[in-house]
């Protein structure tokens, strides 16, 4: 029943249990889709040259060895050490996306609904923007300086409790890396989810409460269905972000953790052996996995857009 009310409030036909049809584009019917393509043209052109072309070149290269078509590089992907690398990378990404997602959501909620003190909220918000882009050597150093073998926090904890933090959480390991990744995954989630909180129109919650719904019912029947697609969308973005992170992983763990981006680095830029085709194949493998995840996200996001038109 609450769903119906929410539907009416949003100005659309309230059909119980069904998602209302999207509002038809009422503007400029004549040449509508042509206008759309023209309008998007600079954007599309830009992406074609600087994103699509390099990706296409990469995929092309992953099927060529010494100028001839070959399935070899792609076939090599299934060897045990590379399968393991993909599995490790996926695990790391799932972990940091999941944990980062939950923590980031909490932070986003606080940022979205906090009113006072304003300065504290702005401080956290601006720092989240900075932290979400942090990575690489700077972040690795910062963590080593904090909880490394001779880190500041390690010393303090050791002095206070006798527990050697750095032995329990070695930074150059899967778990150490996960911890460091959270430093940018959590703020990233918060930033991605902020607009979604903003889209929860006040009128909906007011309407629900005015009709006697409890907070729980409001959350379950109105807020969650609206928020769920953007949440999953953001989670998948976090997954992709973690999956392709290279600088941080290499700076912190070197080759100790078997990850795909690091392997790509070995084959494109090293002092031992380079293999353009295989590096390209690794990239193509990554692209396939992340595209699958992205496809999932697109399907889910379609649902929420219908509510927001």
């Amino acid at each position: 029943m609450t769903t119906e009310i929410a539907g009416t409030v949003a100005g659309k036909a309230a059909v119980p249990g069904k998602v209302p049809p999207p509002a038809a584009p009422v503007v400029g019917r004549r040449g509508g889709s042509l206008a759309g393509w023209l309008g998007a043209l600079p954007f599309l052109l830009f992406l074609s040259v600087f994103l699509i072309a390099p990706i296409a070149t990469n995929i092309w290269t992953s099927f060529r060895v010494d100028g001839n078509f070959s399935l070899d590089p792609m076939a090599r992907l299934f060897e045990p050490q590379y399968r393991d690398a993909f599995i490790q990378t996926i695990n790391l990404s799932l972990l940091t996306a999941g944990v980062g997602g939950v923590l980031g959501l909490i932070l986003a909620w606080a940022l979205a609904t906090s009113t006072r003190p304003q300065w504290l909220r702005n401080l956290v918000l601006s720092f989240s923007a900075v932290a979400s882009q942090m990575g690489g050597v700077a972040l690795a150093f910062a963590f080593i300086a904090a909880i490394g073998v001779q880190g500041m926090v390690t010393h303090v904890v050791l002095a206070l409790t006798g527990w050697d933090l750095s032995a329990s959480i070695p930074l150059a390991s899967f778990w150490g890396l996960a911890l460091v990744y959270l430093y940018f995954q959590v703020p990233l989630m918060a930033i991605l989810m902020l607009p979604a909180f903003g889209s929860l129109k006040k009128q909906w919650s007011e309407a629900a409460y005015s009709l006697g719904a409890s907070r729980f019912r409001y959350l379950r029947d109105v807020a969650l269905p609206i928020m769920w697609p953007p949440i999953v969308g953001a989670l998948l973005l976090l997954f992709a972000n973690s999956f392709s992170a290279y600088a941080t992983a290499y700076a912190l763990a070197g080759g100790r953790v078997n990850l795909v981006p690091i392997l790509i680095g070995f084959f494109t830029s090293g002092n031992v052996m380079t293999d353009d085709s295989f590096a390209a194949a690794l990239v193509t493998g990554m692209i396939i996995i992340v595209v699958a995840a992205m496809g999932l996200r697109t399907m889910l996001e379609r649902r929420t857009n219908k509510w927001l038109r």
Binding site: G32, G39, R116, G198
Partner: protein, 280 residues
């Protein structure tokens, strides 16, 4: 329906410190501690020497005789150009599509996420091979990084701008102001853009933060930007590198804090006006 605006919300009046308020403050406090601890540790490592205490020595030693000012200026220019480029490309595109062809938005949004799919290292490989055959001298200039940085920042910038536009219901605004006699350009400049200020600022800040920290692409394309310089220093002089990265983060964050504080006040006022006007 008429009574909507005046219905009391089951929440405390703004002036009392509520349970919700204290929880929020606690969350913020924890977040800040966790954000700052690694940075403070970095600063301690970078600005002290064992046996000497607090000193600028590691930093000055490393900066001596290097061209870091040129690299810093190079990075700042790249940040400015990338941000401007992104905004110039995306704001008109998004506005146009929202107004004229919302169906295209699905495609453009999907495209905007593609950069996340591809790691910088892959972009470099492909870019090298592609441009070497098409326009060999393009990759030589450091400014060639600008379009790539625009691509890398695309996911976040697009989302921020898109969310900013969605929050506005641009069609109504254009229609309303047109019915009052304003041209679309006037509407754009006087109404849309000012109301998008938080989104514009947010997008700019994210783009700048990305460029100021971007290492992989710049180093693989063999350009010397400030992050590349920092890593070079870090290879051989870890203390100086820690000090430098602390300073960079601090500077970025102070800039962001100042700008976001400036926008928050204005943004709220404008928003209230719009909502009130709309519900009449």
């Amino acid at each position: 329906m008429v009574a909507l605006e005046t219905t009391a919300r089951p929440q405390a009046a703004p002036h009392r410190l509520t349970l919700r308020g204290s929880v929020q403050v606690a969350i913020f406090a924890v977040a800040l501690v966790l954000f700052f601890t690694p940075l403070v540790a970095s600063a301690v490592f970078g600005f002290t020497l064992p046996g000497k205490g607090l000193t600028l020595e590691p930093l000055t030693d490393a900066l001596q005789g290097t061209d870091f000012a040129a690299q810093l200026s190079s990075t700042l220019q790249l940040a400015l150009l990338s941000t401007l480029g992104s905004l110039l490309l995306l704001v008109p595109t998004l506005l146009f599509l929202h107004l004229k062809a919302p169906k295209m938005l699905r495609l453009t949004e999907w495209l905007s996420v593609v950069p996340y799919v591809v790691p910088a290292i892959a972009l470099v490989g492909g870019a090298n091979l592609f441009f070497r055959n098409v326009a060999p001298s393009f990759l030589v200039s450091t400014y060639s990084l600008v379009p790539f940085y625009m691509v890398l920042s695309l996911p976040l910038v697009y989302r921020t701008l898109d969310a900013g536009i969605r929050a506005l219901d641009v069609r109504t605004l254009f229609a309303a102001s047109a019915s009052l006699g304003a041209t679309p350009l006037q509407t754009l400049v006087r109404i849309i853009l000012p109301n998008m200020r938080p989104a514009l600022l947010g997008a700019s800040l994210l783009s700048c933060a990305l460029v100021l920290g971007e290492y992989a692409l710049a180093s693989l394309l063999l350009h010397s930007t400030f992050p590349v310089f920092m890593v070079q220093v870090g290879m051989n002089q870890p203390r100086a590198a820690a000090a430098l990265s602390f300073l960079t983060i601090l500077a970025t964050w102070l800039l962001l804090a100042a700008l976001s504080g400036a926008s928050a006040g204005r943004g709220r006022v404008k928003k209230t006006t719009i909502t009130k006007g709309g519900s009449r």
